[in-house]
Symmetry: D2
Subunit: 440 residues, 4 copies
Amino acid sequence: MNEPADLTVPSLGTRTVTSPLNLNTTSGDEIANFVEDSERLLMDATLKSFRRHCDAGTEPVSFEKAGPRAKIYFDPSKVKAAIVTCGGLCPGLNNVIRSLVAQLWFRYGVRSIFGIRYGFQGFIPDFGHSMLELSPALVGEIHELGGTILGSSRGSQDIGAIVDSLERLNVRVLFTVGGDGTLRGAQAIFEEITRRGLKIAVVGVPKTIDNDIPYISRTFGYDTAVDMATLAIRSAHVEAQGAPNGVGVVKLMGRHSGYIACSAALAMREVNLVLVPEQRFDLEGERGILTFLQQRLEARGHAVVVVAEGAGQDLFDATTGRDASGNVKLQNIGRFLSDRIKAHFKELGWEINLKYIDPSYIIRAAPANSKDAIFCGNLAEHAVHAAMAGKTGIVVGLWHDKFTHVPLLTATQGRKLVDLEGALWRSTLESTGQPPILHD
Amino acid sequence: MNEPADLTVPSLGTRTVTSPLNLNTTSGDEIANFVEDSERLLMDATLKSFRRHCDAGTEPVSFEKAGPRAKIYFDPSKVKAAIVTCGGLCPGLNNVIRSLVAQLWFRYGVRSIFGIRYGFQGFIPDFGHSMLELSPALVGEIHELGGTILGSSRGSQDIGAIVDSLERLNVRVLFTVGGDGTLRGAQAIFEEITRRGLKIAVVGVPKTIDNDIPYISRTFGYDTAVDMATLAIRSAHVEAQGAPNGVGVVKLMGRHSGYIACSAALAMREVNLVLVPEQRFDLEGERGILTFLQQRLEARGHAVVVVAEGAGQDLFDATTGRDASGNVKLQNIGRFLSDRIKAHFKELGWEINLKYIDPSYIIRAAPANSKDAIFCGNLAEHAVHAAMAGKTGIVVGLWHDKFTHVPLLTATQGRKLVDLEGALWRSTLESTGQPPILHD
Amino acid sequence: MNEPADLTVPSLGTRTVTSPLNLNTTSGDEIANFVEDSERLLMDATLKSFRRHCDAGTEPVSFEKAGPRAKIYFDPSKVKAAIVTCGGLCPGLNNVIRSLVAQLWFRYGVRSIFGIRYGFQGFIPDFGHSMLELSPALVGEIHELGGTILGSSRGSQDIGAIVDSLERLNVRVLFTVGGDGTLRGAQAIFEEITRRGLKIAVVGVPKTIDNDIPYISRTFGYDTAVDMATLAIRSAHVEAQGAPNGVGVVKLMGRHSGYIACSAALAMREVNLVLVPEQRFDLEGERGILTFLQQRLEARGHAVVVVAEGAGQDLFDATTGRDASGNVKLQNIGRFLSDRIKAHFKELGWEINLKYIDPSYIIRAAPANSKDAIFCGNLAEHAVHAAMAGKTGIVVGLWHDKFTHVPLLTATQGRKLVDLEGALWRSTLESTGQPPILHD
Amino acid sequence: MNEPADLTVPSLGTRTVTSPLNLNTTSGDEIANFVEDSERLLMDATLKSFRRHCDAGTEPVSFEKAGPRAKIYFDPSKVKAAIVTCGGLCPGLNNVIRSLVAQLWFRYGVRSIFGIRYGFQGFIPDFGHSMLELSPALVGEIHELGGTILGSSRGSQDIGAIVDSLERLNVRVLFTVGGDGTLRGAQAIFEEITRRGLKIAVVGVPKTIDNDIPYISRTFGYDTAVDMATLAIRSAHVEAQGAPNGVGVVKLMGRHSGYIACSAALAMREVNLVLVPEQRFDLEGERGILTFLQQRLEARGHAVVVVAEGAGQDLFDATTGRDASGNVKLQNIGRFLSDRIKAHFKELGWEINLKYIDPSYIIRAAPANSKDAIFCGNLAEHAVHAAMAGKTGIVVGLWHDKFTHVPLLTATQGRKLVDLEGALWRSTLESTGQPPILHD
């Protein structure tokens, strides 16, 4: 990944309020473990980078560490907060909502928390969505359920109208939980707030089941997605083994990045071919995947293929437009591939039994698993610490297993992709035994 | 259900061998609890039926009870057994295989058990499938996995060639695990065996995830299917709630019978409309389902629809042929319905968010749940008891929670359907709140 | 099981109100499928019983069928209902509560439903437990959670004070969800109501994880308990296999009846010894279980034992009193057995690795599985149908897979036990391979 | 954590064999992505550390990166490998075994792999455990099962005899999968091998469910353990809510380190008190936990306590010896605490309902979850890469999400503990709301 231009964290101004987290401590007990703004983490933790920078006398790129600050910007007793969830469903949304509420309420003493309904639509009066007053009692058990109790929607809305709404509601702290598009929306809101000279903190919680946000090593929901995806792969494997020349094809999430496909294949090591958006592949030809499948069936009598939804899009003539969030609408590579495989073997006169499985909605509607539940709680805690300290225009990130503050501007530049020369792809190849090159 | 013409159980002849289950008992311990052929269960257990028959002096229809017999037909030390699994995958196949092997081996002392590969294909030398020698060690952990270790295939094969193969292998006891088509195949094998005057017992274990075999109250895999189906319904519910005018459509198994659809809807009481093959429905019109959905969205803002794969087939122009097992190929009612719902609301200018979920392969490839695991074990035990006692031309059934012997001929006549005037459908209507009539 | 003295269902009197379930139907549509009081199910469905009764001219014992009646007793718009959950936790309690509320509210139009807190304590003002006003919104998602949102408690309370409370609240329909003790309490309440000449219907929903209520073939929670118990047995099996001379001992519920132990052993066919309250066993001696275990370890190197909590109580000197519900406090047979096994092999100089697992609380706090979820919904529907029709002093039962009305007096006489000469125990013996007799 | 004295990786000598992983590539395709020994990762990735070392001109501590080497030490066609699993069960053992075999067999072409039975016992002829010949077919489905197919045992064996056995079997590559004691054993074996001048690589895969190995950020099984532990916490929460003054006490693994207790509490945010070995606590007194629980019950009526097995050991008079592995035998703090809580409230005259849950065996016998399955596969791959390259006396580690080589000597010095001033403990306190100080 390229080094980002700037990792400086915007702030609303001087912090003057003593953090209520001090209340937990008694004299002499240093328990709150406040973090200072100067604490930073190196982006590149290799010895080689150390030597290069040290020898050249240059400052290595680093992230600001997240965590509670000893002094905060807002007086908790007066602050109104708002939470909005945007984009497609993702495991853990309710955990994030629940922990944001709990952290605001119990740790900081904030008593006014608006839940915005159906994404950015909820800010626009025309849609007529009423708000939810959030409290610990209301959100007590929601982590056991998938989805988001606030609802969500795709697409942006008029930024001016959103900021009007924030002003009207007197919101001082806005948490936007969403992916790529949402982070760009949050950045636009942040800019409009700055333009108007308002003192409103905008803090993002990064949500992308595809795990493709740059400068953030993991996003919530991804781990649960891999968990749930194994259910589909196991089924594909069972179906493939259960019939003569059985072939199981599983389409998984991954518009631009093949992380889920690779990780799910590594979790259920029964996959013989993983196709990701990062790697070009041919159908026909000596190195094409039809030849590979034919060899596999000859040798073993069954095969399992996992394909990320964004893979092989170059095999289609042209794209068919964009969805409400501005995402390019992808062609269904899973069905396309299944049809082509069936046609190929029919032509050869082979009887094969192909089963195509698309588990996407079952994956994304699942409740968070333990790992994601912990992660969502931590993200929410750090988002609240950041916002209360007056940090703004940022998203909470993770790097080297530590929580960080990443400027929204940086987190929306480019995408994180599976490195075809890196360890994840190497393990994937080692696990599947597929040829490294799939085109002529 | 109509009363069957005949429930007399065919037999290979006089039983002369003392059951080895006696070995378990010591003098005076009546532990084996042998069942006599004269023990029978009434098909109709109502007081009304009692009075009718008693008053008229007629014999009520009854099933022969399954269970170990004190005298058996085959000498276990000399018997060779064969097991074949046919048709689509179904949770519990491996449990049945494992328990057949364990019961033959440990209880009766049979030491030669052939596992036939890929359904009836495995009997036909041309296919080149080799057999598996089954033993307790080989099948020790297979119940933890979905599918069938033997593999399966659809479609019948030449009956003469199958019986030739049984003769060649010197098989005396054949267990066929499969549904409608398989039971018909087993009946044909039974008839050919009878024609040739062979002493080979043919005993079926009924496998239909749809639960639609007549005169058998439950078949294995069905309960697990309902379990797994709730995963899809929960996802549809979460998706429907997560977006403005969210609609979740779930297609479930059920070619002719809506049992899975009804039961899954009752297990996850979040479903607003259940469509089954047994009930006609219109799309358009005052009582059509589009009107109902429109009212539901107006009232609540989201809806969940469950549709059995065999529902609404009359909405298509014509069928498109039959599959290898001779089943009529169904049109995809799930996609058809989803498209029509989307078109309807688009025409109305409503923005709806419809998610279509087809969990079929994930359902049928699942390992058996506890209920089915117990059931499969019991079915297998009773199948072995029956075959060793020389019963033939039968399938093991369940009635009033007791295991029975049902002649293959009877079990292949007609189908068990959801009674639209019965308790299951009434509960379904009470749970969904859908109108009882869906057509003009 | 002995035949009960009387299965006549008590009633509050003449039914005069037309059931609102008719509202669902339009002219000519016979959809509500009302049940008549005269519809009854034979207790004994064997042909032998038919012949005996028919020949002797005697009336066979039969149960009244549950279901909606065309005429009901209460005017739904005026009725107040109350729900109380008592005794130990059991999977499905929340499903029952949710379905009682949904059925009362949506089907019958009842709008006043009290949730009584912490069992019968909730009726007694001294405890200071406030009531919950139940509505569909409040109970919408509770079926996803284990336990009971109403809370529960053991033990009876003053019957007069409970009826005073019902009068004060103007409750006309009381649903008691509980086991043995609760059914006796409900019977006492019913009698006091009758004595006072009140028109209050008392309908029980039978809750016993042990499945030991007589004349009722299955109770809710039992199926989930078996499901969850397999988790413990699988662990015991893994532990036993993972060490030299590994022994896994699992204690399961079953104070008087070994149903859970037997069924769980049949669901996970890795168990070598099942001990139930119904069967006496010795530790020492040729037929004692220590000898059996020694032989098993010699032959296979590992063993799994499942023991019901009520088994082997005769091995203790005396009982130590009763708990708040009046149940005899059992000695911990699981630990006792584990200690004795360890001592035995230590004496022999064998190194064994015994792991003792008690999963009781994890089992009973689980949410209902699909089977129980369906069952709980059906039980609740039928309880509401019964109460609205003025049936009282009854508990909803199940017989031959049909729902029935069982008088409370009958359901509290004796217990349902595992028949040591029946099919369940035979299957258990066949699965474990344990000797049928375990004492000299 | 203190900086280790030395992170230099021992090696058997010059690498001369070209890695077979090159076979995957075609001319010009740089696919194998070999790692060089000079690639190292900084232990401390903070900017502060960078500045300190750069300013002082000192070399920061760093780990050697794991991964395939272009040149390897052993000729795969001639190498014999051995795998041994030691100590208590841990989720993922079978995944490690399966991936070691697959990696050796398919990637490197090793065809002779011994599975040693029952830990180090399997090397000692006296125990009479025979070896398993491991192959991909044999280990194909074992990842679906908990435990280890090799079996395990506690305790060390005679090091000389183990090395004799390695010599006798002509083993060149030994993989030891185990925790603290096993790593010390592996180090002793490595030293004896070195003393004898043998060319045998010893590579450890770190297994500690407690996650307490120093210089390794995560060990396998830990993530699954947290997953499974939430089952017990959920049950405790349901039980606590289900009764007046309900208290749930859950004992979790963690002999010296409270990682599982903290993480499980963060995954199921229903816990009110977490007790870990790292923090002293009092029972009595103003800051003691009994006072805290009393306040909690007064305020909310129920409470959930999670206690790590190693917590509060100072409350016992003395320890009672060591187990076969040399671990100090801990007192049962879970039962002790439960008894003391019950006694305390009995004395106060409060009726409380305490449920004690010990899910340890259910946790450790579980199959690996997806996260651990991936992790186990990666650990095994890297262990094979390391051993084939002639690395020895090391354990495969993880640091900053990258795989590393850690000298056995370093990995056995001290333990990783929860930092009471770090982020995990801060989050735990924020989640539970418990006071930071629990003693006077």
